[in-house]
Protein backbone atom coordinates (compact mmCIF):
# COMPACT_ATOMS: atom_id res chain seq x y z
CA UNK A 1 0.00 0.00 0.00
CA UNK A 2 1.39 3.42 -0.97
CA UNK A 3 0.19 6.97 -0.60
CA UNK A 4 -0.06 8.66 -3.97
CA UNK A 5 -0.42 12.30 -4.90
CA UNK A 6 -3.68 12.99 -6.73
CA UNK A 7 -1.73 14.21 -9.77
CA UNK A 8 0.23 10.96 -9.93
CA UNK A 9 -2.63 8.48 -9.88
CA UNK A 10 -3.74 6.80 -13.08
CA UNK A 11 -6.82 4.96 -14.29
CA UNK A 12 -6.65 1.27 -13.42
CA UNK A 13 -5.05 1.77 -10.00
CA UNK A 14 -6.90 0.24 -7.06
CA UNK A 15 -7.74 2.21 -3.93
CA UNK A 16 -6.32 0.66 -0.76
CA UNK A 17 -8.37 2.87 1.56
CA UNK A 18 -11.75 4.50 1.18
CA UNK A 19 -11.75 8.22 0.27
CA UNK A 20 -14.02 10.66 2.06
CA UNK A 21 -14.78 14.31 1.40
CA UNK A 22 -14.63 17.00 4.08
CA UNK A 23 -18.22 16.31 5.06
CA UNK A 24 -17.20 12.73 5.76
CA UNK A 25 -19.33 11.22 3.06
CA UNK A 26 -17.80 8.41 1.12
CA UNK A 27 -16.51 9.28 -2.33
CA UNK A 28 -14.95 5.97 -3.29
CA UNK A 29 -14.67 2.78 -1.33
CA UNK A 30 -11.51 0.82 -0.72
CA UNK A 31 -10.99 -1.60 -3.59
CA UNK A 32 -12.44 0.74 -6.20
CA UNK A 33 -10.64 0.70 -9.51
CA UNK A 34 -9.83 4.26 -10.54
CA UNK A 35 -11.13 5.58 -13.84
CA UNK A 36 -10.52 8.90 -15.53
CA UNK A 37 -13.95 9.92 -14.41
CA UNK A 38 -13.41 9.01 -10.78
CA UNK A 39 -10.02 10.74 -10.69
CA UNK A 40 -11.67 13.90 -12.02
CA UNK A 41 -14.32 13.52 -9.35
CA UNK A 42 -11.73 13.19 -6.57
CA UNK A 43 -9.95 16.29 -7.83
CA UNK A 44 -13.13 18.29 -7.91
CA UNK A 45 -13.73 17.41 -4.26
CA UNK A 46 -10.29 18.77 -3.41
CA UNK A 47 -8.78 15.39 -2.50
CA UNK A 48 -4.98 15.77 -2.40
CA UNK A 49 -3.74 12.20 -2.08
CA UNK A 50 -5.10 8.66 -1.85
CA UNK A 51 -3.86 5.23 -0.73
CA UNK A 52 -3.19 2.93 -3.63
CA UNK A 53 -2.75 -0.85 -3.55
CA UNK A 54 0.60 -2.26 -4.66
CA UNK A 55 0.53 -4.41 -7.79
CA UNK A 56 -2.11 -6.78 -6.48
CA UNK A 57 -5.12 -7.43 -8.70
CA UNK A 58 -8.70 -6.67 -7.67
CA UNK A 59 -10.31 -9.30 -5.52
CA UNK A 60 -13.90 -10.36 -5.88
CA UNK A 61 -14.99 -9.79 -2.29
CA UNK A 62 -14.39 -6.07 -2.27
CA UNK A 63 -17.89 -5.18 -3.36
CA UNK A 64 -19.11 -2.12 -1.50
CA UNK A 65 -22.51 -2.00 0.11
CA UNK A 66 -25.34 -0.64 -1.99
CA UNK A 67 -25.58 2.40 0.23
CA UNK A 68 -22.03 3.59 -0.26
CA UNK A 69 -22.18 2.62 -3.91
CA UNK A 70 -25.15 4.84 -4.61
CA UNK A 71 -23.68 7.64 -2.49
CA UNK A 72 -20.52 7.60 -4.55
CA UNK A 73 -22.58 7.38 -7.73
CA UNK A 74 -24.24 10.62 -6.67
CA UNK A 75 -20.91 12.28 -6.03
CA UNK A 76 -19.52 11.05 -9.29
CA UNK A 77 -22.53 12.16 -11.31
CA UNK A 78 -22.39 15.61 -9.75
CA UNK A 79 -18.66 15.97 -10.25
CA UNK A 80 -19.13 15.12 -13.90
CA UNK A 81 -21.95 17.62 -14.36
CA UNK A 82 -20.08 20.38 -12.57
CA UNK A 83 -16.77 19.64 -14.32
CA UNK A 84 -16.78 22.86 -16.38
CA UNK A 85 -17.89 25.21 -13.63
CA UNK A 86 -15.94 24.09 -10.62
CA UNK A 87 -13.62 27.10 -10.79
CA UNK A 88 -16.51 29.08 -9.37
CA UNK A 89 -16.50 28.74 -5.56
CA UNK A 90 -20.27 29.32 -5.39
CA UNK A 91 -20.85 26.46 -7.84
CA UNK A 92 -18.68 24.21 -5.70
CA UNK A 93 -20.84 25.07 -2.70
CA UNK A 94 -23.97 24.31 -4.71
CA UNK A 95 -22.50 20.97 -5.78
CA UNK A 96 -21.67 20.02 -2.20
CA UNK A 97 -25.06 21.11 -0.89
CA UNK A 98 -26.82 19.11 -3.62
CA UNK A 99 -24.69 16.12 -2.80
CA UNK A 100 -25.70 16.30 0.88
CA UNK A 101 -29.39 16.63 0.02
CA UNK A 102 -29.30 13.71 -2.43
CA UNK A 103 -27.17 11.47 -0.21
CA UNK A 104 -29.54 12.04 2.68
CA UNK A 105 -32.38 10.69 0.55
CA UNK A 106 -30.41 7.62 -0.42
CA UNK A 107 -29.64 7.09 3.23
CA UNK A 108 -33.33 7.40 4.17
CA UNK A 109 -34.34 4.91 1.49
CA UNK A 110 -31.79 2.40 2.73
CA UNK A 111 -32.81 2.91 6.35
CA UNK A 112 -36.47 2.21 5.64
CA UNK A 113 -37.40 -1.34 6.61
Amino acid sequence: MVSADIDKIKPGMILAKAVYNRQDSLLLDAGAKLTEKSIRMLKSWGVRSVWIQGQSPVTENQKSSSKSASASEIEMGLAEKFADVRDDPVMLEIMRAASRVLSKRVQEQVDEP
Binding site: K81, D84, D88, V90, E93, L102
Partner: protein, 285 residues
Amino acid sequence: MSKVDLNRIIGKIEDLPTLPRTVLKITELVNDPKSSARDLSRIITDDQVLTARLLKLVNSSFYGFPQRISTITGAIVLLGFDAIRNLLLTTSVYDVFSNHARKSKFNQEKFWDHSLGCAVGAKVIGNFMRHDKIEELFVAGLLHDIGKIVVMMYLPKEFSKVTRYVRRNDTLMRAAEQEVLGYTHAEIGKMLGERWNLPPKLLSVLGHHHNPAAAGPYSMEAAIVHLADIFARALNIGFGGDEKIPPLDGFAWEILKIKTPSVEHILEEMKKEFDDISMFITYTP
Protein backbone atom coordinates in the same frame (compact mmCIF):
# COMPACT_ATOMS: atom_id res chain seq x y z
CA MET B 1 -24.04 22.48 -41.11
CA SER B 2 -26.49 24.97 -42.57
CA LYS B 3 -28.32 27.22 -40.21
CA VAL B 4 -32.05 27.09 -40.03
CA ASP B 5 -33.82 30.09 -41.40
CA LEU B 6 -35.44 32.20 -38.70
CA ASN B 7 -38.48 32.50 -40.94
CA ARG B 8 -38.85 28.76 -40.89
CA ILE B 9 -38.81 28.69 -37.13
CA ILE B 10 -41.32 31.50 -36.94
CA GLY B 11 -43.41 29.73 -39.56
CA LYS B 12 -43.48 26.67 -37.37
CA ILE B 13 -44.43 28.79 -34.40
CA GLU B 14 -47.32 30.21 -36.43
CA ASP B 15 -48.59 26.65 -36.81
CA LEU B 16 -48.38 25.97 -33.11
CA PRO B 17 -51.59 25.15 -31.33
CA THR B 18 -53.04 28.06 -29.45
CA LEU B 19 -53.93 27.88 -25.81
CA PRO B 20 -57.46 26.81 -24.94
CA ARG B 21 -59.88 29.67 -25.43
CA THR B 22 -60.88 29.56 -21.77
CA VAL B 23 -57.33 30.28 -20.68
CA LEU B 24 -57.04 33.21 -23.09
CA LYS B 25 -60.36 34.60 -21.82
CA ILE B 26 -59.15 34.22 -18.27
CA THR B 27 -55.91 36.06 -19.07
CA GLU B 28 -57.94 38.93 -20.51
CA LEU B 29 -60.20 39.00 -17.49
CA VAL B 30 -57.34 39.03 -15.03
CA ASN B 31 -55.83 42.01 -16.85
CA ASP B 32 -59.13 43.89 -16.61
CA PRO B 33 -59.29 45.79 -13.31
CA LYS B 34 -63.10 45.91 -13.47
CA SER B 35 -63.62 42.14 -13.43
CA SER B 36 -64.78 40.37 -10.29
CA ALA B 37 -64.25 36.96 -8.74
CA ARG B 38 -67.72 36.04 -9.96
CA ASP B 39 -66.89 36.82 -13.59
CA LEU B 40 -63.81 34.67 -13.38
CA SER B 41 -65.65 31.89 -11.61
CA ARG B 42 -68.32 31.83 -14.34
CA ILE B 43 -65.76 31.33 -17.10
CA ILE B 44 -63.93 28.57 -15.26
CA THR B 45 -67.04 26.64 -14.29
CA ASP B 46 -68.09 26.58 -17.95
CA ASP B 47 -65.15 24.26 -18.48
CA GLN B 48 -65.54 21.04 -16.52
CA VAL B 49 -62.02 19.81 -17.02
CA LEU B 50 -60.51 23.06 -15.82
CA THR B 51 -62.87 23.16 -12.86
CA ALA B 52 -61.97 19.66 -11.75
CA ARG B 53 -58.30 20.28 -12.23
CA LEU B 54 -58.30 23.57 -10.38
CA LEU B 55 -60.07 22.06 -7.38
CA LYS B 56 -57.69 19.15 -7.36
CA LEU B 57 -54.70 21.47 -7.39
CA VAL B 58 -55.90 23.87 -4.72
CA ASN B 59 -56.61 20.93 -2.46
CA SER B 60 -53.19 19.40 -3.03
CA SER B 61 -50.40 19.55 -0.51
CA PHE B 62 -48.71 22.11 -2.77
CA TYR B 63 -50.90 24.80 -1.24
CA GLY B 64 -51.37 23.20 2.12
CA PHE B 65 -54.69 24.85 3.01
CA PRO B 66 -56.06 23.29 6.18
CA GLN B 67 -59.67 23.18 4.99
CA ARG B 68 -61.12 21.58 1.90
CA ILE B 69 -61.96 24.00 -0.91
CA SER B 70 -65.02 22.87 -2.80
CA THR B 71 -66.01 25.85 -4.95
CA ILE B 72 -64.21 27.78 -7.66
CA THR B 73 -65.17 31.09 -6.06
CA GLY B 74 -63.61 29.85 -2.85
CA ALA B 75 -60.43 28.97 -4.70
CA ILE B 76 -60.32 32.39 -6.38
CA VAL B 77 -60.80 34.23 -3.09
CA LEU B 78 -58.07 32.21 -1.41
CA LEU B 79 -55.50 32.23 -4.19
CA GLY B 80 -56.21 35.47 -6.02
CA PHE B 81 -56.70 36.15 -9.73
CA ASP B 82 -53.09 35.93 -10.80
CA ALA B 83 -52.53 32.61 -9.09
CA ILE B 84 -55.57 31.09 -10.78
CA ARG B 85 -54.51 32.38 -14.17
CA ASN B 86 -51.05 30.94 -13.68
CA LEU B 87 -52.34 27.59 -12.50
CA LEU B 88 -54.55 27.21 -15.52
CA LEU B 89 -51.82 28.41 -17.84
CA THR B 90 -49.51 25.79 -16.37
CA THR B 91 -51.77 22.84 -16.87
CA SER B 92 -52.96 24.02 -20.28
CA VAL B 93 -49.47 24.47 -21.65
CA TYR B 94 -48.66 21.01 -20.45
CA ASP B 95 -51.66 19.66 -22.37
CA VAL B 96 -50.85 21.53 -25.57
CA PHE B 97 -47.50 19.82 -25.76
CA SER B 98 -48.22 16.44 -24.30
CA ASN B 99 -50.65 15.76 -27.16
CA HIS B 100 -47.68 15.70 -29.51
CA ALA B 101 -45.35 14.02 -27.12
CA ARG B 102 -45.74 10.44 -28.26
CA LYS B 103 -44.22 11.17 -31.66
CA SER B 104 -40.91 12.10 -30.15
CA LYS B 105 -38.30 9.55 -29.19
CA PHE B 106 -36.75 12.05 -26.88
CA ASN B 107 -37.61 11.58 -23.26
CA GLN B 108 -40.42 14.06 -23.02
CA GLU B 109 -41.33 13.24 -19.47
CA LYS B 110 -37.83 13.88 -18.17
CA PHE B 111 -37.89 17.14 -20.05
CA TRP B 112 -41.07 18.25 -18.34
CA ASP B 113 -39.66 17.15 -15.03
CA HIS B 114 -36.79 19.53 -15.59
CA SER B 115 -39.21 22.37 -16.31
CA LEU B 116 -41.32 21.48 -13.32
CA GLY B 117 -38.22 21.22 -11.15
CA CYS B 118 -37.17 24.67 -12.27
CA ALA B 119 -40.69 25.98 -11.57
CA VAL B 120 -40.64 24.57 -8.05
CA GLY B 121 -37.11 25.92 -7.59
CA ALA B 122 -38.18 29.42 -8.66
CA LYS B 123 -41.08 29.23 -6.21
CA VAL B 124 -38.87 28.09 -3.33
CA ILE B 125 -36.16 30.69 -4.05
CA GLY B 126 -38.91 33.33 -4.35
CA ASN B 127 -40.34 32.29 -0.98
CA PHE B 128 -36.91 32.40 0.57
CA MET B 129 -36.41 35.93 -0.75
CA ARG B 130 -39.93 37.00 0.18
CA HIS B 131 -40.74 37.84 -3.41
CA ASP B 132 -44.37 38.92 -3.67
CA LYS B 133 -45.29 37.14 -6.93
CA ILE B 134 -44.54 33.52 -6.25
CA GLU B 135 -47.02 32.16 -8.80
CA GLU B 136 -45.48 34.22 -11.55
CA LEU B 137 -42.08 32.77 -10.73
CA PHE B 138 -43.51 29.28 -10.86
CA VAL B 139 -44.93 29.79 -14.34
CA ALA B 140 -41.75 31.45 -15.56
CA GLY B 141 -39.76 28.45 -14.35
CA LEU B 142 -42.15 26.05 -15.98
CA LEU B 143 -41.95 27.80 -19.33
CA HIS B 144 -38.27 28.76 -19.30
CA ASP B 145 -37.29 26.02 -21.77
CA ILE B 146 -40.41 26.07 -23.90
CA GLY B 147 -38.22 27.01 -26.88
CA LYS B 148 -36.56 23.58 -26.66
CA ILE B 149 -39.97 21.94 -26.81
CA VAL B 150 -40.87 23.96 -29.90
CA VAL B 151 -37.75 22.76 -31.70
CA MET B 152 -38.26 19.18 -30.51
CA MET B 153 -41.80 19.00 -31.80
CA TYR B 154 -41.84 21.20 -34.83
CA LEU B 155 -38.30 20.86 -36.16
CA PRO B 156 -37.54 17.24 -35.27
CA LYS B 157 -34.67 16.90 -37.78
CA GLU B 158 -32.92 19.96 -36.48
CA PHE B 159 -33.60 18.84 -32.95
CA SER B 160 -31.82 15.56 -33.48
CA LYS B 161 -28.90 17.46 -35.00
CA VAL B 162 -28.81 19.57 -31.85
CA THR B 163 -28.87 16.56 -29.53
CA ARG B 164 -26.20 14.82 -31.60
CA TYR B 165 -24.05 17.93 -31.35
CA VAL B 166 -24.57 17.95 -27.57
CA ARG B 167 -23.46 14.32 -27.29
CA ARG B 168 -20.46 14.62 -29.58
CA ASN B 169 -19.11 17.83 -28.14
CA ASP B 170 -20.23 17.37 -24.55
CA THR B 171 -21.70 20.82 -24.52
CA LEU B 172 -24.73 22.76 -23.31
CA MET B 173 -27.93 22.71 -25.36
CA ARG B 174 -27.78 26.42 -25.98
CA ALA B 175 -24.28 26.22 -27.49
CA ALA B 176 -25.46 23.43 -29.78
CA GLU B 177 -28.60 25.35 -30.74
CA GLN B 178 -26.57 28.41 -31.58
CA GLU B 179 -24.31 26.28 -33.76
CA VAL B 180 -27.01 24.25 -35.52
CA LEU B 181 -29.99 26.62 -35.60
CA GLY B 182 -28.35 30.00 -35.17
CA TYR B 183 -30.80 30.74 -32.36
CA THR B 184 -31.17 29.55 -28.80
CA HIS B 185 -34.22 28.13 -27.06
CA ALA B 186 -34.44 31.37 -25.07
CA GLU B 187 -35.04 33.43 -28.21
CA ILE B 188 -37.44 30.87 -29.67
CA GLY B 189 -39.36 30.64 -26.39
CA LYS B 190 -39.76 34.38 -26.31
CA MET B 191 -41.16 34.37 -29.84
CA LEU B 192 -43.72 31.78 -28.89
CA GLY B 193 -44.63 33.74 -25.79
CA GLU B 194 -45.22 36.85 -27.88
CA ARG B 195 -47.55 34.89 -30.07
CA TRP B 196 -49.45 33.71 -27.01
CA ASN B 197 -49.68 37.27 -25.68
CA LEU B 198 -47.96 36.31 -22.47
CA PRO B 199 -47.25 39.20 -20.09
CA PRO B 200 -44.06 41.23 -20.79
CA LYS B 201 -42.43 40.13 -17.54
CA LEU B 202 -42.76 36.49 -18.48
CA LEU B 203 -41.43 37.15 -22.01
CA SER B 204 -38.44 38.87 -20.54
CA VAL B 205 -37.65 35.96 -18.23
CA LEU B 206 -38.06 33.40 -21.04
CA GLY B 207 -35.72 35.36 -23.26
CA HIS B 208 -33.06 36.10 -20.67
CA HIS B 209 -32.90 33.23 -18.21
CA HIS B 210 -29.26 32.70 -19.19
CA ASN B 211 -28.30 36.39 -19.03
CA PRO B 212 -30.55 37.99 -16.40
CA ALA B 213 -28.91 41.43 -16.64
CA ALA B 214 -30.46 41.81 -20.10
CA ALA B 215 -33.96 41.41 -18.62
CA GLY B 216 -33.84 45.04 -17.42
CA PRO B 217 -36.65 45.76 -14.94
CA TYR B 218 -37.30 42.02 -14.61
CA SER B 219 -33.73 40.93 -14.04
CA MET B 220 -34.53 39.78 -10.50
CA GLU B 221 -37.14 37.34 -11.82
CA ALA B 222 -34.78 36.21 -14.58
CA ALA B 223 -32.03 35.69 -11.98
CA ILE B 224 -34.35 33.54 -9.85
CA VAL B 225 -35.22 31.31 -12.80
CA HIS B 226 -31.56 31.19 -13.80
CA LEU B 227 -30.59 29.88 -10.36
CA ALA B 228 -33.58 27.52 -10.23
CA ASP B 229 -32.41 25.98 -13.53
CA ILE B 230 -28.97 25.32 -12.00
CA PHE B 231 -30.52 23.90 -8.83
CA ALA B 232 -32.85 21.57 -10.73
CA ARG B 233 -29.89 20.15 -12.63
CA ALA B 234 -27.82 19.84 -9.47
CA LEU B 235 -30.63 17.83 -7.86
CA ASN B 236 -30.92 15.56 -10.91
CA ILE B 237 -34.53 16.57 -11.42
CA GLY B 238 -35.47 15.63 -14.97
CA PHE B 239 -33.32 16.21 -18.02
CA GLY B 240 -32.78 19.58 -19.70
CA GLY B 241 -31.25 18.16 -22.87
CA ASP B 242 -27.65 17.96 -21.73
CA GLU B 243 -25.78 16.57 -18.74
CA LYS B 244 -24.17 19.82 -17.79
CA ILE B 245 -24.66 22.70 -15.41
CA PRO B 246 -24.76 26.12 -17.00
CA PRO B 247 -22.31 28.57 -15.41
CA LEU B 248 -23.70 30.78 -12.67
CA ASP B 249 -24.18 34.32 -13.88
CA GLY B 250 -22.16 36.65 -11.64
CA PHE B 251 -24.68 39.48 -11.89
CA ALA B 252 -27.54 37.15 -10.96
CA TRP B 253 -25.79 35.82 -7.89
CA GLU B 254 -24.96 39.36 -6.82
CA ILE B 255 -28.52 40.68 -6.96
CA LEU B 256 -30.04 37.57 -5.40
CA LYS B 257 -27.95 38.09 -2.25
CA ILE B 258 -28.33 34.46 -1.17
CA LYS B 259 -25.64 33.33 1.27
CA THR B 260 -24.05 29.98 0.43
CA PRO B 261 -25.06 28.36 3.75
CA SER B 262 -28.73 28.84 2.72
CA VAL B 263 -28.28 26.89 -0.50
CA GLU B 264 -28.69 23.50 1.15
CA HIS B 265 -31.90 24.57 2.86
CA ILE B 266 -33.33 25.81 -0.46
CA LEU B 267 -32.31 22.61 -2.26
CA GLU B 268 -33.87 20.46 0.45
CA GLU B 269 -37.14 22.39 0.25
CA MET B 270 -37.09 22.22 -3.53
CA LYS B 271 -36.65 18.46 -3.64
CA LYS B 272 -39.47 17.96 -1.15
CA GLU B 273 -41.91 20.20 -3.01
CA PHE B 274 -41.03 18.68 -6.35
CA ASP B 275 -41.87 15.22 -5.10
CA ASP B 276 -45.18 16.54 -3.77
CA ILE B 277 -46.33 18.39 -6.85
CA SER B 278 -45.07 16.21 -9.70
CA MET B 279 -47.97 13.84 -9.14
CA PHE B 280 -50.50 16.59 -9.74
CA ILE B 281 -49.03 18.24 -12.80
CA THR B 282 -48.37 15.08 -14.76
CA TYR B 283 -51.76 13.72 -13.83
CA THR B 284 -54.13 13.72 -16.81
CA PRO B 285 -57.75 12.74 -16.16
